[in-house]
Each structure stands twice: as C-alpha cells, then as structure tokens.
Symmetry: C2
Subunit: 218 residues, 2 copies
Amino acid sequence: MTTLSPTPRSTLTRKKNRAATDRQALYDVLDAALICHLGLVLNGSPVVLPTGYGRDGDTLYFHGSTGSGNLRAAAEGIDVCVTVTLLDGIVYARSLNNHSMNYRCAVVHGTAKLTTSAAEKMHGLKVVTEHLAPGSWEHARAVNDKELAAVAVLSLDLGEASVKIRAGEPGEEPEDEHSDHIWAGVVPVQTTFGAPVPASYVPIGSPLPAHVSRAPGR
Amino acid sequence: MTTLSPTPRSTLTRKKNRAATDRQALYDVLDAALICHLGLVLNGSPVVLPTGYGRDGDTLYFHGSTGSGNLRAAAEGIDVCVTVTLLDGIVYARSLNNHSMNYRCAVVHGTAKLTTSAAEKMHGLKVVTEHLAPGSWEHARAVNDKELAAVAVLSLDLGEASVKIRAGEPGEEPEDEHSDHIWAGVVPVQTTFGAPVPASYVPIGSPLPAHVSRAPGR
C-alpha cells in the first residue's frame, strides 16, 4: 500500500491511533464527500470557504469565477489547505469529557496551480462536475468558449495529506464502568438525498434522467 | 433587525444577492449545523480543521486538548476564521456552467480568546456539549477537576461575520430556455440521524433517554 509520505505539518501529533496512513483511505474520504473547505491566507488572515471539488488520481480540482479574489489568491501559488470532513456519528459517553464525534477527515496541504490550457481547464471542470453531479457532463449543455474564459480552474497535488478517522464505541474511564444509569452509544449521522425537484420550467411529465435518479448515496 | 456590521474581509465581493445581512440569519446557520471548520495560520501556512462548537448569544465556544498545537496557536490571540456550511442541494441546470449547490454558509473572522476562569471554561464546555448532544450536560457524569485542567476552551466573538445563502431553482441562460430535453432541478441534500446504537457495555434493556431519542433533526 502506498503511504501518505507525511511531512511535519501533515503528521498528526495527537490521537495518532486515528491516523490512516494509506492512500486508499485518502481517496475514500475525498470520493465520499460532496464539498471541501478551502483555507488560504489573505492579508495575513486565514480565510476558509466551502467549495466543490473533484479528484482525478492524485490531483484535486476546484473551480470558481475569475472574478473571485480568493480563487485569484489561491492561483498565485500561495499555500492552501483543503479539508474534507464526513461526520458519521455523535458519540455519547458516560462522562461528558468522553463525548465525541465519529468522523472521517482528510487534510491536504499544498500549492494550488492555475490550469492554463483549455484542454486542462475543461478536464478539471469535468472532474469537478462528475464528482458533484455524475452524468451531467454528458447530459447538460457543454461549456462554451465564453463560459470557459470566465472560469478559473485550480489543481492541487495530493502529495501532502493526512487522514484521521474516529469510529466505533465511546471511550470511557474506569470510574464510569459501573454507571449503568448513564446511557452510552452512538447516534449515526448521514448525508441523504431527497426526491429530485424539477425546475418550474421543466415540462410536466419530463422523465427523470437515470444519472439524477442514481445520484450518489441514493 | 441588527445588521452584521461587515468589515472589508467579511463583505461579499461577488454574488452579493446571496448575502444575508441580519444577525438572525447568522444564528440560524450556526445553530443548525453540527460542526465547523476552524482556519488559522501556522508557520505561514493555512490549517483548516473540523471541530465541534456551540453558540451562546454573540459568542462561539470551542474546545480541545491543552496538548493540541492548533488550539494552543488559536489561543495565543492569532486571527482565526470559522466557517459553518450546510449543504442543502445539488443544482442541476441545463448548462454545465450553471450547475451549482444550494447551501447556507456562515464565515466568522476574529481573534479567539482562551477562557481562563474555571466558571467560564465550564460554561463554554456546557455550550459546546449542548450544541452537539443536547441533554447530555444533565445526564452524563460531570467534568471533574482533572478533566477540566486538561481541556482548553476558546471563545470567539461573532462581531465580524458574513452569511451567504443559495436556495431555489437553477439559474439558466436565455439560449437554454427551450432545451426541454435537458433536465433541470434540485436534488435536496440533508443531514439525517440513524437509530441510536447503544455501546456494547450498556445493559440490554436499558431505556433510551429522551434527550438521545430527541436528538436534533429527528
């Protein structure tokens, strides 16, 4: 199994037992989530914004308007941190101190690059689209030249990443072992999809395309 | 309605129509989500980590181990950015370029403060606990002195915040108006809770406490 080749800033210093060290664990988290949180430094201050993304091999792609100051900053070769989190459960322990969350989290550090060729931009857009709305790339109207010019597509190498996972039962202290009057366990948390809602201008009776009814997780 | 008193870094520069400007919108987003993403700058690089939180009036509270380097850095009075995102839907437009997401997002900028008095620490822990696991503060074993000493509790003022919301139908271009062969609409996305799973050491037949069966969203 290929390891994640951690650097100091991607090596967990605490709760090391929660660190996953193979690349497949990284891919699994990135492929399972829908959005990421992109962090960058603007005028010395951190900025964290939610955004769509997609993965192709060891590359993450993002996109945004060329008018976005944050995207422009990220494209200028500054460090970014991309964090993807899946919340899996609320962990009720017998002690308040051991209350916790079950989760899977990937943190990627690196320098985002602006894609320049039209072919690479188009590829990045396809990866991002197919992550969020698989099947739309074939179904919907293609990106035209004017639209392509107005979008910035960034890529980020997955070389420096860490994965942290908590799963399973609560941890408990020995002193709480016999406190059977206190409930302990996990309330699972899931992301679920509702029934697709057609836009008001879609003719009544239009069939729901298979790629929409087969949206991930449903 | 009290406004959010935006500063330059909390004023939206794009898609201004998605900006909510009253404090209730901020509270609603912060109260509806379960986790936030905390961004800070360490050694010049951005770091974004998921964490629990809770709100009391115009103060957010976080906690973590006193051994956490990130928490220690945040406690030293450096700028942080806290982002809370609720993904509400995947927006399928007739053009790929108008594909989007429905979401509610709050971004808070400020300087986190380390709470020092035992009373304020305990209050912050209660706020964080009751956000994630309402009812646990009364039900579970209280935090003892040793546990309290090992936890760092941070507070962040909500004075500098922005809220961005996208909801409703896809946007479309005039050229796609008659493309009735392309489906358009929204696939709703929700966070849902599964049936509580008791820990293996909970005696069979133990009743599920009301505060767990009434977990938020269920």
